[in-house]
């Protein structure tokens, strides 16, 4: 079957495609990434109040990300499968380091100060956890046995608990989700799914009482009735929905969004940047962005489906789905259907580590995507 695929690919190579292939790059992913990055910089320029400093910094991170991605793509998938556990351990140690030497902002301790730049280990775990779980399950029978499920969950929960302790609930949930996706795609039994579901339901009350901090509870309450606290916690949601709604179909025009330009919108260049896009480019802008995202995510799932290795399938599927979850959670929280958790909009929101971490993931996706060719060359 894959031989047929492989023959078909050989028979219909475009000129560009061939050179992209030789660089181990997936042309669809590459084009959508470039579109997202360019669009993101445009919106960022407006959202930061025409501040070129942010745009330049973000562009540098993106370039760095592209380089990292291409570098990662050059290594064979088996290399990443073998080394996944090493990255995982490095990430875990960094998280521990954050606990003791970390620097923070707004009451949370999330960064390691490396002198040159700040580095957020929890972002790295978004890639390291699915890779490690995939590597672990990739060598074993699927659907996974109880023992494997237990080991996998332990590998997931270790960093998740450390991240939750920072506290950074949003990232913790995303890291957990990325790991859980691997388990699910690996065919996690229905019994596990059902018991996980029941456990979750039972855990919610104790989660609310023991784990969640006051500000996190406040965010949930705010979601339920933002009007109760118009100038406090509800302010963000009221202003962001106002920004989105007032954008209408076609938007107010680039740099013409009054909500964002007049500072009504909080965090307009980071977590709430999609409200700026919605206000200035309207529903048309939102749908265009969604279209690009769906091409991208669709391509990820396609790569997963066509991957030759178990590891490749699981990693690619998990990364694609996690990417979707980023987009979904961010767009939901800004539009007021989920509580405000600090999840950036991938490639659009300003933020260095997040961009680099994403590109590392894309590099692995590219490596998986171009794997069949490598097999042929080795033959």
């Amino acid at each position: 079957m894959y031989r047929d695929d492989f023959v078909r690919r050989i028979q219909s190579p475009g000129g560009d495609r061939r050179s992209a292939r030789s660089m181990h790059l997936d042309i669809t992913l590459l084009l959508t990434l470039v579109a997202l990055c360019m669009g993101g910089l445009f919106v960022l320029y407006s959202a930061s109040g025409q501040n070129l400093y942010f745009v330049k910094r973000q562009a540098v991170f993106m370039l760095f990300g592209f380089v990292a991605m291409i570098a990662v793509a050059q290594f064979p998938v088996r290399f990443w499968e073998r080394w996944a556990i090493v990255f995982y351990i490095i990430g875990l140690l960094s998280l521990l380091a954050v606990m003791f030497f970390g620097v923070g902002a707004k009451g949370a301790q999330r960064w390691l100060d490396l002198g040159v730049t700040r580095f957020q280990p929890s972002e790295l775990m978004k890639v390291a956890v699915p890779m490690t779980i995939s590597a672990f399950l990739g060598k074993r029978f699927i659907p996974p046995s109880f023992q494997h499920v237990f080991i996998s969950l332990s590998l997931i929960l270790l960093p998740v608990l450390l991240i939750m302790n920072q506290p950074d609930l949003g990232t913790a949930i995303l890291v957990f989700t990325s790991g859980f996706f691997v388990l699910f795609l690996a065919g996690l039994g229905k019994r596990y799914l059902l018991s996980a579901f029941l456990l979750l339901m039972a855990a919610i009350p104790s989660f609310w009482i023991f784990v969640m901090r006051d500000y996190q509870k406040q965010r949930v309450l705010t979601l339920l009735s933002p009007e109760d606290d118009k100038l406090g916690a509800g302010w963000n949601i009221i202003q962001s929905t106002t920004a989105i709604g007032s954008g209408g179909l076609a938007g107010k025009g680039w740099m013409q969004g009054t909500q964002s330009q007049l500072n009504f919108l909080p965090e307009s260049h980071t977590d709430f940047i999609i409200a700026v896009l919605a206000e200035e480019f309207g529903l048309i802008g939102i749908l265009s962005l969604c279209a690009v995202y769906f091409v991208f995510i669709g391509r990820c799932l396609f790569i997963a489906l066509n991957s030759q290795s178990q590891f490749g399938r699981l990693v690619a599927g998990s990364l694609g789905l996690t990417f979707f979850i980023y987009v979904f959670v961010n767009m939901s929280m800004v539009s007021g259907i989920l509580p405000v958790v600090g999840v950036p909009l991938p490639l659009i929101s300003y933020g260095g580590t997040s961009v680099v971490a994403l590109f590392l993931g894309f590099g692995i996706l590219m490596a998986i995507s171009t794997e069949p060719k490598r097999i042929r060359m080795e033959l």
């Binding site: 202003q239 709604g245 500072n263 178990q310 599927g317 767009m331």
Partner: protein, 631 residues
Amino acid sequence: MIHDAAFTDPARERRIFAGRLFVTALVVAVMAVIIIARYVDLQINRHQNFATHSDNNRVHVRPSVPSRGLIYDRNGELLADNRPTYNLTIVRERSESLDNLLANVSELIAITDEDTKRFRKRLKRRKPFEQTPLKYNLTEEERGILAVNAFRLQGAEITARLTRFYPNRELFAHVIGYVGRINERESQSIDSIAYSGTDSIGKIGIEKYYEDQLLGTVGSENVETNARGRVMRILDSVDATPGDSLTLHLDSRLQKVAYDAFAGERGALVAIDVKTGGILSIVSAPSYDPNLFVSGISQKNYNQLINSPDRPMFDRAIRGQYPPGSTIKPLFGLIGLHNNSITMDYTINDPGYFFMEGIERPWRDHNSKRGGHGKGVDLAEAIIESCDVYFYKMSVKTGIDMLSNYSKVFGLGDITGIDLPGERPGIMPSRDWKQQARQEAWFNGDTINVSIGQGFMLATPLQLAVMSARIASRGKMIKPVLVQSINAAPVETEITDIPDLEVDNQYWDYVHRAMRDVVHSPKGTAKGISKGLDYEIAGKTGTAQVISIDAEEEYDSSKIEKNKWDHALFVAFAPVDDPQIAVGLIVENGEHGSSAAAPIARQVIETYMKSRPPGDGQLMAAESPLQGELR
């Protein structure tokens, strides 16, 4: 891995994976539909609501403040001006912590406890996002300090606004009045839109009476503000219309002469233009600086004014009610002549006292040495020498009804209708009045008391001036008025004859002559002021008892405290042949009209006469810059 792979079934693994991927893809699709539906709902279905909300967010209507109308005297001199001042205001919603902000501000500039107290009081009355003043009249240095530290004074702002200023300070305090902060009671009765740009309102005097004209019409600006409420740009605006400018009949020079003439004494003076009824000068002494009230007077200053025994806040000119004493005599004589109860030839014998039939106690003649004015005292002599007994007798012959009714048409016993708030009516007693006020019948003894301006009778200095002007004009219905023109449009003043009063010209001549002789005859009670006049003044002195002295006792000022001394009064007009100016005045506890009051009147009349070009009836018309512009 190779070992494991030997036992794996790749096809089955792919199938499991593909199945799971298919399920998640379905879930992804559903979630995508939800999120897109949410954005469609917000951006299409509810777009209108949010667009409105967004505009409400950024667009605010801001009142643009009209500048208050200016007030000029008749020569174009500014009596009430608007000056830019800088105030420190705070918008509570924009300060993160009000207490911290206040602490920060008071580290930088001097904020008194009083300032803070008043600020907290104002804070309770303001609308949301309104600027609440903390400190007024910032100095240039204070403004500099605040500007440099603006970054840590979130919510505080320096606002410039026009503030009322009275350049003549105490000179016109009572008549011009002052503006002050709108208080709670006022804020309930005023149109809140008309006052949206200002926190000041006329409190007393002309500032209050002409509030509607002076205020102006508020304009509006649609401004776009950012989340911190800072104005980013003005979208459109309706200009404010400044308040009307008032030009008064008042003459600052006359006012200054009159005020200075009181030289620390308590009293009041009103000078009226006989031709128009325009008030040339209206003084109440002592006075105070109205500028103290503009930005809110301090408790200390206020207590000082309120507790001063001289009562500087009291407007004696229109609210002080005094017994008019002998100043009433020319009017009563005229009423007697007009009603034929006396004639010009009628004389009496004045032994120094007067007995009323059936009453044991006699009425003394206060204005003569023991033994009285003697035989053959006619009306003229009774006015010139101020013979009380003549008026005791003539009043009994004339009766209170005649005296009361005719006095009223000369402006006594009721408000004159001057364009000032708070005028008092005085008392012109009558049978009805006594019945109502005292539930008692009228006695002849009451009439006798009234005949020399004592007893129940009370008049304000303004009423005395009006009476004097109506006598001077031979029965013209002269109404006192302060405002000459509003925005250069003259205020119509029509001078008519007093209705149903046809006094023989010979009686007018007689009374005018007698009043002239008060000043110009060697026997006149005010002969002291006639020296050096190149025109003639008609006048009448008066003395009003503050305490009653028994008929047999002698009034001796050395034996009583000064605040119980008699009040000195004087009414006058000049020149006698063509009266231009009429004056009424009182010096509290001044003892004698002749020595204390008359010289003040002379100074005022002299200043007025000297400032007139010879042969010109109208005062200084050509020299007035304001009037010059109008022609």
